[in-house]
Each structure stands twice: as C-alpha cells, then as structure tokens.
C-alpha cells in the first residue's frame, strides 16, 4: 500500500508541474504584451515611459522568459503569489481567507451529489425500467443540461424572493452556525444537483453491470435476501466506477464554484478569480487559478488513493 501511495504521489508531480507551467505560459507567453493586462495601452501612454519601465522591471517582464519562469517557480515554493494590484494586500492572505469558504461549499454540494446520486442510481438499477428509473434518468439528463448560473437564479427567485424561506444570497458564517447552514443551502444545491445527475447515471450503469455477474446470481441462488445481495455483493463492487465519477465531480464542483460563487455572492476562491478578471488584477487571477488547478490535481490523486483502499487488486498491480 505504501509503495502504491508513493508511486501515485510521484505520478501527480508532473501533473502539478504541468498545471503550474500552463498558468505561467497562459499569462506570460501568450501573444501580446503581458504589461497590457496590468496597464492597458491607453493608460500606459498617459503614465509615461518611465513608470511603464518601472512596472515592467517590478514584474520581471524585462527579463527573458526562462528567467521569469525560474523566478515564478522560486516564488511559488515560498508561497509568494505577489500582491493584488488593486488592494495591495498579499494574495496568499486573501486566498487563505477564502479557501475555507469554497471548501465548505464544495463539501456540502459533494455530500448532496453523493447521497442523492448514489441512492437514486442504485434504485434505478434495481427497479430497471420502472417509473423510478425513468424519472431518475430523465431528471439526471435535466440536471446536466441546466446552466448552473440560471438554475441558481431560479432557486434564488423561488426560495429567497417569493417564498422567503432561505436567504437569497451572501455568506452567513461557518457551517456550525444556523445562519451559515441557511446561507449555504441554495449555492450547495445549485452546485450539487448537476453532479448528482451524473452520479446517478453512472451508479445505475455500474450497478446494472454488476447485477449481471455470476457471483450475484450465486448469491441469489443461495437464497440471500435481495437487500443483502444488493448491499453486500453488488454495491461493494460497483463502488469503483462510482468513486471515479465522484473524484471527477470533486473537480467539477471546484471549477463550478467559479460561477456559483459569483451568482450567490459567496466569498470564495471562484468569486475572487472573477473579481480579479473583471478588475484586470493579473496576480490575483494567477493565484486563484493556481489554487483551483492544484486542488484539481489533488482531487485526482485522492481518487486514485481511494481506489486502492476499496479495491485491493489496484494496490498489488
């Protein structure tokens, strides 16, 4: 098991390096002058050449690309993301304040997705072609086809503005406070329901796949109760593909938070990124993208490790 974990950790390194390098290349080596992102050309003209040259030197844009890259990597190892152009606060501090909020939202929405998706998926498989199956699969297709920002607004409109059961938007504090939970419900539902749809579809096919196996027939032939067959024999084996999808959904929830946090004014990484883009705050964009990209790589790693835990065959491969 330890060798497997070490091997996976080692394999995650190139992905991590790739993500970090992609962010660098996108912002530094893209066509056009990266200075334009910091100071639009019309403003640069007004500021005068001297100031432009000073800013250029401050960001290292006057050096060759490889030198900029090395400086960038060096800074990252010290967790130095620079300062926001607008507020001048260190970006790492802003990020540290926002990460728990995004995590909070991610955990609840993934919880909704996992519980709803797996339960409905298993029910659909067991009662194949029944009304439960048909309506779940129909709802799942609806879930993946709804634009999440619009779905968020519709929930906000119904629960927040018409029925006034829940606060329409904003952050209510940590999850252990009632206000914190009340504020998290709508954004978490928005993020979680689409993932629940995808999970339900794959759980269904995974369970159906297993129900056709010989050992399930044997279990039934032994006279075991259907509930035991499903839970002890089928579910255990159906878990592997489900965990894969859950891992992918962890990534989807992370990137989905960019839009959902904007909809619900949720002070997380996603909203920080969008604010950075709108105010052309290039170091903020870089920092936020890095955090999400690295979490994505870590989510994939976590999925791989979960496999090994569930399926011993993976460990001894």
């Amino acid at each position: 098991m330890r060798t497997y974990i070490l091997k996976r950790l080692f394999l995650a390194l190139p992905a991590l390096w790739g993500a970090v390098t992609l962010v660098f290349l996108a912002l530094h080596a893209a066509p056009g002058d990266p200075m334009d992102m910091i100071l639009p050309p019309d403003l640069a003209g007004a500021a005068g050449e001297e100031i432009v040259a000073r800013i250029r030197a401050e960001y290292g844009f006057d050096r060759p690309l490889y030198a900029q890259y090395l400086i960038y990597l060096g800074r990252l190892t010290r967790l130095d993301f620079g300062r926001s152009l607008r507020t001048h606060t260190p970006i790492v501090r802003d990020l540290a304040r926002r990460i728990p909020n995004t995590l909070q939202l991610g955990v609840i929405s993934l919880g909704i997705a996992a519980s709803l998706g797996v339960v409905l998926g298993v029910l659909s498989a067991v009662r194949r072609d029944s009304w439960i199956d048909n309506s779940t699969m129909f709802a799942a297709l609806f879930g993946v086809s709804i634009p999440n920002f619009w779905f968020g607004f519709m929930l906000m409109l119904l629960f927040g503005l018409y029925w006034r059961i829940l606060p329409p938007s904003g952050f209510g504090g940590p999850l252990y406070t009632p206000e914190g939970i009340r504020h998290a419900i709508l954004p978490a539902l928005t993020l979680g329901l689409a993932s629940a749809g995808i999970l339900a579809r794959f759980t269904r096919s995974s369970v159906l796949d297993i129900l056709g196996e010989d050992y399930v027939r044997t279990a039934r032939a032994k006279g075991l109760a259907e509930r035991v067959v499903i839970i002890r024999h089928a579910m255990k084996n159906a878990l592997i593909p489900i965990v894969t999808i859950l891992g992918i959904q962890l990534g989807a929830v992370l990137s989905g938070s960019v839009i959902v946090e904007t909809v619900f004014a949720w002070p997380g990484i996603g909203r920080y990124l969008v604010t950075g883009i709108n105010t052309r705050d290039f170091p903020v964009v870089q920092g936020a993208v890095l955090v999400v990209a690295v979490s994505f790589v870590l989510a994939n790693l976590l999925t791989d490790l979960a496999y090994a835990y569930i399926d011993p065959r993976v460990r001894y491969e």
Binding site: A30, F153, V285
Partner: protein, 308 residues
C-alpha cells in the same frame, strides 16, 4: 462492435445506416430532441422574419415591460424586445457550439490518429502533454484563455477548441491502437497504401462512432460553457445578444422582472437538453453494448462540463 458497424462499405453500409436510422427513430427522446433543435435552428436562421423588432433598438419609455401581445417575452432594461434577442441569441449559441466542438474535433482527432499510428517517441511526448492538459480543469482553462486573449466570439471558439482537443485526441488514439494490428490495416499496408490513406480511409473511418457521439455531447457542453463565460462577461460582447450575458444582466432585475432571466435561461436549457437527448440516443444506437451493460465511458464523463 464499433468497427463492425462502420467497416462495411457499399450496400452493407446502407444497411448499417438504415439500422442506425431505425434505432434512432425508435428512441422517443431523440425524436423530441431533433424536433426541438430543428425549431431552434429555424428560429436562429429566420430571426429577422419572425419578429418585427430590432435586437438593438432601445425604447427607454417601455423598459422592463412584462410579456404581452407586442412583446411576447417582454422588454429588457433598455426597452429592447426580449424575444428578438433570444431568437438572435440562438445564432450565437449554435455557432459557438458547432465551431468550438468542430475545432476540437479537427485538431484532437488529427493529433490522436497520428499518435496512435506513429507510436514511439512522438506518441509518448504528445500523450504526456495531453495528460497534463487533462489534469487542468476545463472551465478554468477556458476562463484563463479568454481572459488572456480577451473576450469575443473567435477567442471563445479558440478556448473551446483547446478544451476539447485532449479528449478527442484520446478517443481517436485509443481507437487506432486497437485497430492498428487488425488484418485489414495489415492488408492495406502490404498492398503499399501510403500512410495518409491508411490513416484516413481505414483508421479514421473505423473510429468514427465514438467520435460522433462525443462530438454531439461536446456541442452541448460548448453551448453551456459559452453561456457560462457570457454570464461572467467573458463571452460575446454587447450589443450582440447572447443568452448567458442576457441572464447576467437580468439578475439585477430578478425581483421586479423575473421573465428577463427566465426566457434566455429556458432557451439555453432546451437547446442543451435537445442535443443531450440526441447524443444519448446516438450512443445507444452506435454502441448498443453501452446500453445493455452500461459500462461507464471514461472519455465522456471526463468531458462533462465543470459545472456550467
């Protein structure tokens, strides 16, 4: 299964197409999806004939008017007719959906075919690069590209092309790897067929079914992502009507004029749902094995929108 369906040529091909057509016709979801999509395409193509209004013309005296006989979906914050803007918005969405996925298809399939066929160091290098791209969240990549290149239709299509390239490439490479050793490829090679002909006439043609299925689903994803980026202000720029941007502006009037956000949202939803219905039916028809035992398709769920 896939190669058996499409590897027949001549009269056999006709039977295959007929069988595919029959399977598709039997699927009610696909029928409904096709009808809806056709209606949306007609709305996009004949938008000027469908409405007497201009999508840009403002009427500040008639702001936020609720739906009525003259303005079927009401008017927006500048007094523009919402139905007209939804109809013209279909042009933008369908265009981006189609071109973004086609870009990914062309680049990705070409790369994948060559990787699978050539193998060796080239394949190794490119595949590692593709792995790295897939380890990067798609939505974020699109946001990053558009925020660097600037918003606009062309840049959005470039971003979507870059997003879909890795998955198309993996699908094509995977198919080629299984086909490369087959007898008909060996036969073509021993007859002295040039590499390009083997790649196009034998390998590409026989890898088509998973590519077609993923292409359909990627059009749906493109439309969702384009709307999401439009919502964030990174998509098509005003005054061109775009569904995502319309929902974004409408949020300021959610309480007083909810219809402003409801209609463009429904338009996105119905378009994407129709394409997903067609995509699902195509998958079932082209590869019935998937339907009967339902093995998850890694390439497909990788491609699910990162949440849009």
């Amino acid at each position: 299964m896939n190669e058996r369906i499409l590897s027949t040529t001549g009269p056999g091909q006709l039977t295959v197409m007929r069988r595919l057509g029959r399977r598709l016709r039997r699927n009610r979801g696909a029928g409904a999806g096709l009808v809806c999509l056709a209606l949306i395409a007609i709305m996009a193509a004949f938008a000027p004939a469908l409405t007497p209004h201009c999508y840009e013309r403002q009427n500040l005296l008639n702001r936020l008017a609720p739906p009525s006989a003259t303005h079927w979906m009401g008017t927006d914050e500048l007094g523009r007719d919402v139905f007209t803007r939804v109809a013209y918005g279909a042009r933008v969405s369908l265009l981006i959906g189609l071109f973004g996925s086609t870009g990914g298809l062309l680049v990705g399939v070409t790369v994948g075919l060559f990787c699978g066929y050539l193998g060796g160091r080239f394949d190794n290098l490119v595949s590692r690069f593709i792995d790295i791209m897939m380890a990067f969240p798609g939505v974020l990549l699109a946001i990053l590209i558009v925020s660097v290149l600037g918003p606009g239709t062309v840049n959005l299509i470039v971003a979507l092309t870059i997003w879909f390239t890795p998955t198309f490439s993996r699908i094509a490479r995977g198919s080629v790897l299984t086909l490369r050793g087959k007898e008909f490829v060996e036969a073509a090679r021993s007859l002295g067929a040039p590499h390009l002909r083997i790649i196009v006439q034998h390998l590409l043609v026989n890898s088509l079914s998973p590519i077609i299925v993923y292409f359909t689903l990627s059009v749906a994803t493109s439309i969702l992502v384009a709307a999401g980026l439009g919502f964030l202000g990174l998509g098509v720029q005003p005054p061109t009507p775009e569904w995502g941007a319309m929902v974004s502006t409408a949020r300021h009037y959610l309480r007083d004029a909810p219809f402003l956000s409801i209609f463009p949202g429904i338009a996105i939803f119905i378009t994407v749902l129709s394409i997903n219905f067609i995509g699902d039916a195509l998958r079932d028809a082209l590869d019935p094995r998937l339907k009967s035992i339902g093995r998850p398709n890694a390439a497909h769920h990788r491609a699910q929108p990162g949440g849009p």
